[in-house]
Amino acid sequence: MTHRSPASRTLKVDAIARVEGEGAMFVEIRDGEVHDVQLRIYEPPRFFEAFLRGRRFTEPPDITARICGICPVAYQMSACNAIEAACGVTIDGQLLELRRLLYCGEWIESHALHIYLLHAPDFLGYDNAIDLAADHAAIVERGLQLKKVGNEILELVGGRAIHPVNVRVGGFYRVPTRRELAPLRERLLWALDAARQTVSWVAGFDFPDFTHALELVALHDADGYAVLGGRLVSTRGLDIAAEEFDAHIAEEHVAHSTALHAHLLERGEYLVGPLARFALNAEQLAPDARDSASAAGLTADERNPFRSIVVRAVEIVHACAEALRIIDAYAPPEHPAEAVEPRAGVGCGWTEAPRGTLWHRYELAADGTILDARIVPPTSQNQPAIEHDLFHFVEANATLDDDALRHRCEQVIRNYDPCISCATHFLDMRVERT
C-alpha cells in the first residue's frame, strides 16, 4: 500500500466480522477532519411487517422469532406482550416467572456468545475465538459451557434453543414440572460462579479512553431489573408507556441502510442496551450481580461504550441469580396458558432483548386477523448512536494508521453487539481519506 497523507483518507470494511448479519463501514477523512461515517446495513430486507398482515393474532410468536436466530425469545415475548395488550389480557404469577426464566436463558446464551466468541478476541489481539482457544483453552471452554447453560434453559422451557416451540400468546403449550427444572439448579450454580469469573476476566481488559454523552434509554420496572416490560425511561427524563412510543420516537429511512434509523423526536440519537439498562436500573440487580459490578469498578455513571462487555458479564451474573430464584420458588401454574380472545383494537408491547428495547405494535380486527404490524428492534435504534461513536472515535484517533484505525472502528461497532439480521432487517467498513 502506498503512503498517503494521513490528513485525508478513506477507510472501508466491506464485511464486518463477528456480528450477526451483514454490514459494512465507511469512514471518510478530509484534511484531517472526519467528513462522513456510515454503518452500512445491506442485508436484504425480508418484509416481516408486510406478510404479518392477514395472519392470525396467534401467529407472531412463531413468525417473528424468525427475524433473529440469536434472540428469538425477545421477539416472541414482545409479540406476546403487544397482542395480549390488544386483547386486554395480563399475564402474571408463575406464567410470568416462566417467561422470565426463558428470557434469562436467552440473555445468558446471547451475552456469553458475544463476550467470548465475538468481542473478547478484539481486546486480546486475536482474530477469532478459535485462535484465542489455542492459547487459552480453559477460558474459551468456560465461555462455551456458560453459553450452553443458557441454551439448556431455552431447551427445557422452550423446547429448543433457536426458535423455541413452546411459547404462545397467553403463556405456553406445556409447563415444566418442578422435577424437570431441578437438574438446572446444579448447572446454574456452576454458571453463577463462571459468570462472576467472567466479570473479573473482562474487567481486566485494556479499554481505550473514550466516553460519550448519549441519552441512555431502557425499560424500568418498579418490581425488578426490567426485562419483560415496564415504562421506557432515560437519563434525560423520558418516561413513557408502550402506547406512547410512536409519539416520541420516529424511524427514518436512509439510503445507506435497509435498517430504519430511529431517533427521539425531541433530542435525536439515543442508546439502548446493557450500558443503558445498567445506568438506569443498576440498584435493582441481584445482590451477586451488584457485588460483581462494584468489584469491577462499574458505576451507574459508566459512559465508555468499550466497557459494555463488563456490563454484559454482570448481566449474566444477574440472569443466573434470577433463574435460580425462579426455579427455587417454582410451583407449576394450574393452566399452561391464559385464554386470550381476540377483539378489535391496537396493542403495543416491549421487552429488553439482550441488545436493548424491542417494541412491537399490532392492530387486530375483531376476528383476530392482523391488520397492521410494526416492529422496532434495538439495532435500528442504536445505528445512529453507533455512527455518532464512530465519528467521535475517528476524530480523536485520526493519527492511527489505516489498519489500526480500521480495527478499532470495527471494535466500536462490536461494542453494541449489533444484530443486523434484526435491524434489516450487514456491515461493510470503508474509510475514505481524500
Partner: protein, 269 residues
C-alpha cells in the same frame, strides 16, 4: 531423507444469504464439539465467528439463507465456483424461508408497507432456494436445523460419504418418542404426517401440533393431509396459513396451498 507429508486440513466456508443467522449459529451452539471440529478442519471463511478469511477454493461450503436480490444471485454462483462440495442448511436455503411469502403477494406493496423510500431498496420479486440457482450436493432441512444433523453432514462430507439423514415423517419420531398422537387423542391439527423428521417430534412432545418447520418429507400425501385438516374443522384459510410458513415455497406445500386457492376460485365462478 523425505519428510512425511502433513495432510492438509479440509477447508470449510460458511456463507449467509437472506436469513436470521440461526442455522449458522447452530454451529456455534455445538458447545461440546466446536473446538474439536475446529481442530479437524480449517474454518477458512466464517464471518460471524472471525475476522480472518482465507481465500478459496474451499473443500466444503455451508450455505444459509435464500436468494432475494440480483447481487446475491450472482454471489451464490461465485461461491459455487469456489467450492468442491456445497451443502445448504435450513428452510431459507432449501425452500426460500418465511420471506418466500412474498412469492404469493406483490413485492412492491410489501416494500411500501415497510420502507418509506422504496427506491433505496433493491429486491427480487421472489425468494428462492439456493438449488434454484446452482447445483447443491445436499440439503439439510429445518427452521432451524438440528446440531446433531449438522455434525453428521459435516462429518459425512469430510469422509466422502452420504449423510445419514432420514427422509421419513415426524410421525415416525413421535412413535419412537412414545408420544400420544395429538391428532388422534386431542383432535389437534398437526402437519407431522407430511413433515420431514429431524426435530425429534418436538411440538407434539410439548402438546402442540407440528407446524412443519422441517418442510415436506419425501413423497408426502398432501391431498390426504388437507382432507384430514378440513375434517378437524380447520377452514381453508387456516389450512393455507398452516402450509404457508417457513417452508411455504417448498413445492409440495406450495402446490397444495395453491390448489386450495384455485378450488375456491372455481367454486366462485
Amino acid at each position: 531423507m523425505n519428510t512425511p507429508e502433513v495432510p492438509r486440513k479440509p477447508s470449510i466456508a460458511v456463507w449467509k444469504f437472506a436469513s436470521c443467522d440461526g442455522c449458522q449459529l447452530t454451529l456455534l451452539d455445538c458447545e461440546d464439539d466446536l473446538l474439536a471440529v475446529a481442530g479437524e478442519v480449517e474454518l477458512a471463511y466464517f464471518l460471524e465467528a472471525g475476522r480472518a478469511s482465507v481465500g478459496g477454493p474451499y473443500d466444503l461450503s455451508i450455505v444459509e439463507g435464500s436468494i432475494t436480490t440480483a447481487g446475491d444471485a450472482a454471489r451464490i454462483r461465485e461461491v459455487r465456483a469456489m467450492s468442491k462440495r456445497l451443502v445448504t442448511i435450513g428452510a431459507c436455503a432449501t425452500a426460500g424461508g418465511i420471506q418466500a411469502l412474498r412469492n404469493f403477494g406483490d413485492v412492491k406493496e410489501f416494500l411500501a408497507i415497510v420502507y418509506a423510500q422504496p427506491q433505496f431498496i433493491s429486491t427480487l420479486t421472489d425468494s428462492t432456494p439456493i438449488a434454484a440457482h446452482v447445483p447443491v450436493d445436499f440439503e439439510l432441512r429445518g427452521c432451524p436445523i438440528t446440531k446433531t444433523q449438522l455434525l453428521e453432514v459435516i462429518g459425512a462430507f469430510l469422509h466422502g460419504r452420504r449423510p445419514n439423514v432420514s427422509p421419513h415423517s415426524v410421525c415416525v419420531e413421535c412413535k419412537r418418542a412414545g408420544n400420544v398422537c395429538v391428532t388422534v387423542a386431542h383432535g389437534t391439527p398437526c402437519l407431522g404426517p407430511v413433515t420431514q423428521a429431524g426435530c425429534g417430534a418436538l411440538c407434539p412432545s410439548y402438546n402442540r401440533g407440528c407446524y412443519g418447520c422441517f418442510g415436506p418429507m419425501e413423497n408426502p400425501n398432501l391431498p390426504s393431509m388437507v382432507q384430514t385438516l378440513r375434517y378437524q374443522g380447520v377452514d381453508d384459510g387456516g389450512v393455507i396459513r398452516m402450509l404457508r410458513t417457513f417452508n411455504a415455497g417448498a413445492p409440495p406445500f406450495r402446490d397444495a396451498s395453491e390448489a386450495i386457492e384455485a378450488e375456491a376460485r372455481g367454486s366462485e365462478a
